[in-house]
Amino acid sequence: MNVCSSGTQGIHIEQDVVLARQMARKLAQDRGMRLIDLTKLVTAVSELARNTMVYGGGGDMDWEIIEDGARTGLKLTFRDEGPGIPDLKLAMTDGWTSGGGLGLGLTGAKRLVDDFELDTAPGAGTRVTIYKWT
């Protein structure tokens, strides 16, 4: 897998969630992603960036434009140094929430992208990586 370009967007305040969405939209648009996939990606970014801010206490979104054979795509990693997720199985249950949300953030975001990786441990922060191919 080749990385063509990369960068980082900080996620510390609410406005950064909007900036992360706009950044993902621009990157995907530049790669010619079709509207439905673009909308799904931006929505997933919104959910994950909000999680980083609210539950992780802020963090970063790393972006990479990747090439894998004939296909190009976007790889986005949301990382924070927050408390981590103690019960992964529970967190990946539709409708379960530790905060005031609907519990659709993680599970919903997973459904909206092509690949989804979650790496977390209590006290060790959380890292969510998503892939969307154009």
């Binding site: 939209r25 929505t43 949300g101 909206l112």
Partner: protein, 120 residues
């Protein structure tokens, strides 16, 4: 402070969301709307989201809350103008907006509001 404008048209309130909302802005809209419904005795609220290219679970929840809240205050809410890609994404996300009335565009939404408000 940044705010989303609420217009009054007779017995109805009209909200057109045209900016990429951050969470606090969505919450402010919710508060402003409940206050305006109470102050104007509005019978209905029309929310136009045709300019929104994304609705996530937070905005979806806000729409559901506004709808429930206005119903308790004797006003109907109709959501109009959702883009097809947004609708597909919302359903895939797991949000079907139960209890929220929708219409394809502003014209049909207003017709629906009138019908409901004056048939009682």
């Amino acid at each position: 402070m940044e705010r989303i404008p609420i217009l009054q048209m007779g017995d109805f309130l009209l909200v057109t969301i045209q900016v990429d909302m951050h969470d606090q802005l969505a919450l402010t809209l919710q508060d402003d709307l409940s206050e305006r419904i109470s102050k104007t005795s509005a019978r209905g609220v029309l929310i136009d989201i045709s300019a929104l290219d994304m609705v996530d679970s937070f905005i979806g929840r806000m729409i559901g809350m506004i709808s429930g809240l206005s119903r308790i205050m004797d006003a109907e809410t109709v959501l109009v103008g959702m883009q097809p890609a947004v609708a597909i994404t919302l359903v895939e996300l797991g949000m079907t907006l139960p209890g929220v009335s929708t219409a394809l565009n502003v014209e049909r939404g207003m017709a629906l509001l009138r019908e409901r408000a004056y048939s009682q």
